[in-house]
């Protein structure tokens, strides 16, 4: 029966999506937490104008980006949610993870270049692939700013 095998595949995909998705999310958050501690020394600010500090002699544009995909299970939940309305909590953690990951990569970039302060930080978010029914599949977050410091 074709209908039954379709249902079977669907349930397998849901299960896989849930299992791997939750596992990957927990692992990612753990990694985010440890790296956030490591890179706590790199300061980020959204101010347009940096303070007139004489040690800010050099500047460089730094950035970090990540493309991250939602899993099948959460996508299905968000689909159901879009039918009823309300807060789509399954996408919240996706965006949160992506922004924090991109921020960490920007900080790592600045650290590698020998900077400690990043000013005028801007976020840029784009949906990369859209599935059937205009569902957002994966998003890219790019974050950039100007690193200032004595330089290397």
């Amino acid at each position: 029966m074709a209908a039954f095998s379709d249902l079977f595949i669907f349930i397998i995909l849901l299960g896989l999506g849930y299992g791997f998705g939750q596992w990957a999310e927990r692992r990612h958050y753990r990694s985010i937490h440890t790296r956030e501690k490591e890179l706590a020394g790199i300061l980020v600010f959204a101010e347009r104008l940096p303070p007139p500090d004489p040690k800010f002699k050099h500047s460089s544009l730094v950035g970090g980006s990540v493309v991250i995909s939602i899993d099948y299970f959460k996508r299905f939940v968000s689909l159901l949610r879009s039918f009823i309305g309300g807060r789509v909590s399954s996408y919240e953690s996706l965006l949160d993870r992506a922004r924090r990951e991109a921020l960490l990569r920007m900080k790592a970039d600045a650290q590698a270049k020998g900077f400690q302060n990043i000013f005028n930080v801007k976020f840029e978010t784009a949906s990369i692939s859209k599935g059937k029914g205009k569902q957002i599949g994966s998003i890219e977050v790019y974050v950039y700013g100007t690193a200032l410091g004595p330089g290397n």
Binding site: A40, F73, L80, R87, S89, E92, G133
Partner: protein, 293 residues
Amino acid sequence: MPQYSNAKLPEHINVSKVSPLKDFISLTGGLLAIAFVLAFTLAIVGNWLAPKIPYEWEQRLGDVVESTLLDDFNLNSEHPQRAYLQALVDQLWKLQLTHESSVNTGPNTITVHYVESDIANAFATLGGQIIVTSALLDKITHETGLYFILAHEVAHIKYRHPIQAIGRGVLFSLVLSAFTGSQGDDLLDHLTWNTGSLTLLRFNRHQEQQSDIEALRTLYQHYGHTEGAFEFFEYLVAEEQKADQNENQVPVFLSTHPDTQARIVKLKEIAQEQRWQPMPGKSITLQPLPKFE
């Protein structure tokens, strides 16, 4: 010189602490319940509305059905079988109209079509038409068996079941497409559609039972007993058992018709309750079907 620093921010301000599994269960349950209640309500509304549709409208639809049947099956009205079936149906129709219940808003006469086919089947459709396949006549040996099947189909027409079924279906798909039209997602459509369709099938099974009982009553009126009524059902049970060994059976909730075995048992119970049985000591002889050239 102002102080510049980055403090650690608390978690879960931007991310709500909702277990996705819990979210999933409540959403799926809610949607299924909505689809179920929607289909159920619409089916009742459809059932109530359908008999109010003027019969002329149904007749027009029936003409369309007839012309497609003519194309598909190459109907031939010259068969002697057709004339025989038509005579039986005319008799049945008169008999059933004398019964209490629903005021007849249906057709004046019922047309029987005889179709050459390997599948034993009979069904009633829009515009007071009954289609009987040649295989059905081959499988049935006695007049009572055939009489029951025809009485069942005539009862469908009497209760205007074909237009009810279509009314329910049309109403449900209309409302559903209005709901999901803006979403336009295959998966969601499937989910709600299937739940709704399964709900609608309950009503189909109910119609079958209603017609079965009416057919049984007619049979008793005509013959004074109900022996041999289930000849075709018994043949179906045998076929199903044969098929069982090969592949899985369709569960009842996925089917338009009640489980055949359960159907026979239920009908025998009803016949007993209603005392639709022969006088004690009276011998029954079943009349075989006439031979056709």
